[in-house]
């Protein structure tokens, strides 16, 4: 079974993101880039499916500039067999739909039986590409997957998605798209042998022309980024305990409207 995993390279969760002088992008200096954590669940699940079935191929795909190769290399170090890098300046301003269109074109060329994605990337938190991919490919899709099981002959997948208070279980005919939720699995560490082996694996550079992808203007454009307003300072209530408690209750009720 061929499985394709879409991954996005995002700033490390510990990064202090700063807005660039243009007011529309983030300042890339000092950012450590990682594979978006939900995408790591997707990679791990793909590898487990391959290991469980004893055969198959796992292909990681990512769209972005040259630095994205490092994210793909991490996926190869985890155990993916090869990687595809959608790397073309025309995609520099790609919105989710343009990204989905480019990925869909690559998926059509590869023809996998299953596509795994993270439920959203942790940078812009759009969470749209999976659904857009499903629409463009005409494949069934389920989000927030906590469990999955592919039937023995590889014709369908049973997937359980997280809903309030429990799981909702679907049967989807393959090919299908699943978006991983935290809890689906515990991603493995890339082993040192895996890291050594990764450099021998292929990362294929794909240009827009290779996909027959015509340039189209993005339908979403970023007008501006705004940092969160600074948190108002806390307040210390002075006085003896009975007075302070009264004031605290009043403040919670009237100022904060919390009770």
């Amino acid at each position: 079974m061929k499985i394709l995993v879409t991954v996005k390279q995002v700033p490390d969760t510990a990064t202090q993101v700063k807005i660039a002088p243009d007011g529309k992008t983030i300042d890339p200096t000092g950012i450590t880039w990682i594979v978006s954590p939900y995408d790591e669940f997707a990679v791990e699940e793909a590898l487990r499916i391959k290991e469980k079935r004893g055969q198959g191929e796992v292909v990681a795909v990512s769209l972005g500039p040259d630095r994205v190769k490092e994210a793909l290399r991490s996926c190869l170090a985890m155990g993916c067999d090869r990687a595809i890098h959608l790397n073309d300046p025309v995609w520099a301003t790609a919105d989710t739909l343009a990204t989905a269109k480019a990925l869909a074109a690559a998926i059509k060329q590869e023809g996998p039986q299953l596509v795994l994605c993270g439920r959203q990337a942790i940078d812009d938190d759009m969470g749209a590409v999976t659904a857009q991919l499903a629409e463009l490919l005409g494949w069934p899709c389920a989000y927030w997957i906590m469990e999955e099981a592919i039937d023995a002959d590889g014709k369908s997948v049973r997937a359980a998605r997280q809903v309030e208070g429990g799981l909702e279980v679907f049967d989807l005919p393959l090919p299908a798209i699943l978006a991983a939720q935290k809890g689906l699995n515990e991603p493995r560490y890339p082993t040192l042998k895996g890291i050594m082996g990764a450099k021998k694996k292929e990362i294929r550079d794909v240009k827009a022309a290779d996909l027959g992808w015509a340039s189209e203007p993005p339908q979403l454009s970023i007008v501006g980024l705004q940092a969160l307003p600074p948190r108002p300072p806390g307040r210390i209530i002075a006085g003896d305990v009975p007075t302070a408690v009264k004031e605290l209750v009043r403040a919670l009720r009237e100022d904060a409207k919390a009770i």
């Binding site: 510990a14 490092e70 290399r73 991490s74 170090a77 560490y189 890339p190 082993t191 040192l192 042998k193 895996g194 890291i195 050594m196 990764a198 450099k199």
Partner: protein, 390 residues
């Protein structure tokens, strides 16, 4: 405190290959997630987290520079970075990996027979079997050539008699690499398996340093081992010294990791701790200590990197390894002491990692060639005159 942020004042990151960075990051993440949450309880109890050994094997840490036998085949810079990250956790963790890789797998790989390699290396790489290294004796530390342990051939066995002391992982090891003299007065190496009659171990208690590491005494009393357990390809002191050279290389990097841990923690602490109405990091005397640390760490990082590049080119000399071991451990110990000072009273409790590193580094300063011995090795090298009193 925030998660460890790495220490790189000089953009040394850019001198590493993508692969080297990936190796370092994999080990850094592992230490953060798997080791640091349990280190304090083990340090208090004086135990080593033995269950992590197979996990380290899975990661590929053991014998990482060797090729074949299930080993990762990394270069020496990547191996050094592994040691740095492990010791950022604890010197005991790095010691366990150093011993397994540099002092047990390396001699088996370099001096051993094919049968010995096949039997031990793959299982050790996986962390399923553990080794220890017996060179130091109660009466012979810095002068291993004077060792008293004897191996005597009797028919189809060697009979070992003697005692080895200060042996990391001694009591949990499945096999000991033991160095002993035969009747010809020469030193040879032997593999002694746990459970061999006449071989016993005793753990050393009451340590103030390397508490999260097992340190043992090995005792051999008419211990009979098969002839096939002797290393066929080495004779003389160069055997054990060749191993020590591997381990010392790892220590040079590891010490930097311990210093980085102390520095990063202390910098954050000093920026947050308010006295006289402002962060203590704003005081000149505190800044002086932090600046000393970052300066020395940066120098030590560059020393390690060049040492590693030389080793990868096959041009490294043992005396150069001595210089890095000597310098880096001393600077790490001094950094840890300064860091403890900046932490004030907080510096004496294990809620902060600093005093644990500080006490560990006292051991690191002593083992694998003391600071003084390395000084004399370099002194002899540059002057051509031997100050060992021989």
């Amino acid at each position: 405190m925030e998660k460890f942020r790495g220490v790189d004042y000089y953009g040394i990151e850019g001198l590493l290959s993508e692969e080297e960075r990936m190796v370092r990051d994999a080990v850094r993440d592992w230490v953060e997630a798997e080791f640091l949450p349990v280190v304090t309880e083990h340090h208090r109890a004086g135990t080593f987290p033995v269950s992590l050994i197979p996990r380290l094997g899975e990661l590929g840490v053991f014998g990482a520079t060797l090729t074949g036998y299930g080993c990762a085949g990394l270069n020496n810079v990547a191996y050094g970075l592994i040691m740095q990250e492990l010791e950022r956790g604890d010197s005991g963790l790095r010691s366990a990996a150093s011993v397994q890789s540099g002092l047990v797998m390396y001699p088996i790989y370099t001096y051993g027979s094919e049968a010995q390699k096949e039997e031990w290396l793959p299982a050790m790489a996986r962390g399923e079997r553990v080794g220890c290294f017996g060179l130091t004796e109660p009466d012979h530390g810095s002068d291993p050539g004077g060792m008293k342990t004897r191996a005597r051939r009797q028919g189809n066995v060697y009979v070992l008699n003697g005692t080895k002391l200060w042996i990391t992982n001694g009591s949990i090891a499945d096999v000991a690499v033991v160095w002993a003299k035969e009747d010809d007065g020469e030193i040879y190496g032997y593999l002694v398996e746990r459970g061999t009659p006449g071989f016993s171990t005793l753990d050393i208690h009451g340590k103030f340093s390397m508490r999260a590491s097992i340190t043992s005494e090995l005792s051999f009393q008419d211990c009979r081992i098969p002839l096939a357990n002797k290393f066929p390809n080495v004779k003389g002191l160069r055997g054990p010294l060749g191993c020590l050279n591997q381990a010392r290389y790892g220590i040079a990097w590891g010490a930097v990791g311990a210093a980085m841990a102390c520095y990063d923690w202390t910098l954050q602490y000093a920026q947050q701790r308010i006295q006289f109405g402002k962060p203590i990091a704003s005081f000149q005397l505190v800044q002086q200590k932090l600046v000393w640390m970052i300066t020395e760490i940066t120098k030590a990082q560059l020393l390690c990197l060049q040492l590693g590049r030389l080793k990868d080119e096959g041009h490294v000399r043992a005396q150069q390894v001595s210089l890095a071991k000597m310098n880096n451990v001393q600077m790490a110990l001094d950094s840890a002491r300064l860091a403890r000072d900046v932490l004030g009273a907080a510096g004496i409790v294990d809620e902060h990692p600093v005093i644990r590193h500080m006490m560990n580094l006292e051991t690191v300063n002593t083992y694998e060639g003391t600071h003084d011995i390395h000084t004399l090795i370099i002194g002899r090298d540059i002057t051509g005159l031997d100050a060992f009193g021989m």
